[in-house]
Amino acid sequence: MGKFILKYFNLIRAVIAILIGIIIGVCIIYIISKEPGVSLKSLFLGPLLSKSRFGNFIETASPIIFCGLAIAIPFQAGQFNIGAEGALFIGAVVGTAFGVSTNMPAFLHIPLVLLVAGLTGAFWGSIPGFLKAKWNTSELVISLMLNYVAYFIGLYLINFHFRDKAAGYLVSYKLPETAWLIQFIPGTRIHIGVIISLGFAVLIYYFLYHTTLGYEIRTSGFNINFARFGGINVFKVIIIAQVIGGFIAAIGGMTEVMGVHRRFNWQLSPGYGWDGVVVAIIGRNNPLLIIPSSLFLAYLRVGGKILNLLSDIPAEMITVIQSIIILLITAEAFLAGWKYRITVREAKAKEVGRT
């Protein structure tokens, strides 16, 4: 038992943090809701109760997985670039602009639109990356500020150049059908982008743990001076990690546009970039663990939306729960005493066994 706990300590710790977050959520519902039973049911079972809601749950997980990866790579390199939100937004805008103004067969159109979006995001990620690598400018503040800049420039582009005036509200023209990602489960909007996101997670896992550049990224994040002395080009690593992050975030935004809405319709920044921060932390920046973390968060998000519709509790409760979970997971001393006691007990047991 003790050995098992020690081996999977980080996982168990994360699960306990998540449980505490959820218990706090349940308590809040009991205190505030007039019909706690209905509220709890819509939050925890809501996403499973109909096919379309289940579809919502899966399609919400997809951009969160993308953004989780986009945050995890710079985080692994020790770079606090939290610009996934901006890269996603501006990438989706420029990709949409390219998609609606070009015409070609689908086998060319889909990859090209994704590429244009991705390159825009990569460019967006390169700004804080370059500034940090070259002059040690805080990538945290720069990427945050660029989130706002991306939002306003994106809105400008849609509003003044690609706005579908027939629609009555601020949306772009519809993408031509050659740039649509297929929705392959009838009755839901689950689209190919979901599969692409899973593919990216596996790819990034391989990249980080089985390639030289991935090793350099992780080493730079672990100890930048060690990396420098070991002959790693830290300058390159800092930039590349953020460029790849921006690229992936933008692909995530673009697949959502191409698969779900088929036009750009975000009047507010969708917040996936922040969800990406959450799942990267829950999944300890491990691409494969980001998948279940994203499914978990997407489930809570959709449950929260249903809760919002069917009961008297606002969906923002989910934001509160997730912030508590992050605080507990990043708190290194949380449950450290427990781990220490088990370690000591195990060591003693070993000693006794030997003598």
Binding site: I127, T137, M145, F152, I153, Y156, E316, S323, T330, A331
Partner: protein
């Protein structure tokens, strides 16, 4: 002279600069105090948000400005304490903990806004009190200068006083000395018996105090309501302002003033035929440019210094 130039050269424009600088200045002082102790607080965004919210709610339900002020400040200091607890006691990374705290603030304020005001956008259904404006006798009679200096919100004057307070605290008190010592060389500070964690906690509490005033000003001075995420990145711009000023009192003031001027210009050029999206993005864009230039200069200076050392 063009009408724009005329309006920018008017006393009203300078008045507007001081007005929009106020929340930035409070937040920047909060950032600078925490940065001096070596634990930079990027949670000012969240601190301002909860204080702005609870100020409005408390004043709306009790009708007491004093209670709103005390409540708002306590909530802000509480946020600082929470950050300190997680960072110093539970060993959480301060940046991630602060990001979580900002998220927490954004969620909890909208959550309670819905509970209290049944609205997820603004608190307009609750009548909030505002902090009074102050007409300074004699000075207000002076032409131009009177128009600029007199008639501001009480909190605006306190923000200016806070710069002096910040100076006094960091350079004339033992606490300030300890904060700086802990920030510059924690090992040396510890070796002479300074409790590092306690000093860092104090600096985070102070940071929460100044941040809370910035938040209260936003919802109960600048406007008279709370709206979701109304801090709009000011807590982050404040980080840039404090960095630009090297975390020195006067420097922090000038840094905040710089972004205040940019904000005021953004407000003043909005009647022109420029798409509003560009105007809104201006303060954030300028922050990127200013911070980049600042770090270029800093790294050049460091380079020169290290070259000198080699010789």
């Amino acid at each position: 002279m063009s009408p724009l130039l005329k309006s920018i050269l008017s006393p009203q424009f300078v008045f507007a600069i001081i007005r929009v600088t106020t929340p930035l200045l409070f937040a920047a002082i909060g950032v600078a105090i925490s940065a001096l102790s070596g634990s930079i607080n990027i949670g000012l965004e969240g601190i301002m948000l909860v204080s702005a919210f609870f100020g409005v709610i408390i004043s709306g339900f009790t009708g007491s400005l004093l209670l709103a002020l005390i409540g708002g400040i306590l909530v802000g200091i509480g946020m600082g304490a929470l950050l300190g607890y997680f960072h110093l006691k539970l060993k959480a990374d301060i940046i991630i903990a602060a990001i979580a705290l900002n998220m927490f603030a954004s969620g909890i304020t909208v959550f309670f806004l819905y509970i209290f005001a049944h609205d997820k956008g603004t608190s307009s259904s609750i009548t909030s009190l505002v902090f009074p404006s102050l007409q300074i006798p004699i000075i207000k009679e002076i032409p131009i200068l009177g128009e600029i200096i007199s008639g501001h919100n009480v909190l605006t004057y306190f923000a200016l006083i806070s710069v002096a307070l910040f100076y006094y605290l960091t350079y004339k008190t033992s606490l300030g000395l300890r904060i700086r010592a802990v920030g510059q060389n924690p090992d040396a500070a510890e070796s002479v018996g300074v409790n590092i964690n306690r000093i860092k906690l104090y600096s985070l509490l102070l940071s929460g105090f100044f941040g809370s005033l910035g938040g209260l000003y936003l919802s109960m001075g600048y406007v008279s309501w709370f709206s979701r995420d109304m801090t709009a990145g000011r807590g982050f711009i404040a980080i840039a302002a404090a960095a630009l000023g090297g975390n020195f009192p006067l420097g922090t003031f000038l840094g905040a003033l710089f972004f205040g001027i940019v904000n005021a210009i953004a407000i003043y050029i909005s009647p022109l035929n420029i798409p509003s999206e560009f105007i809104h993005s201006l303060p954030y864009f300028v922050t990127v440019v200013a911070l980049a230039i600042y770090s270029i200069r800093l790294s050049r200076r460091k380079k020169i210094l290290s070259e000198k050392e080699e010789i």
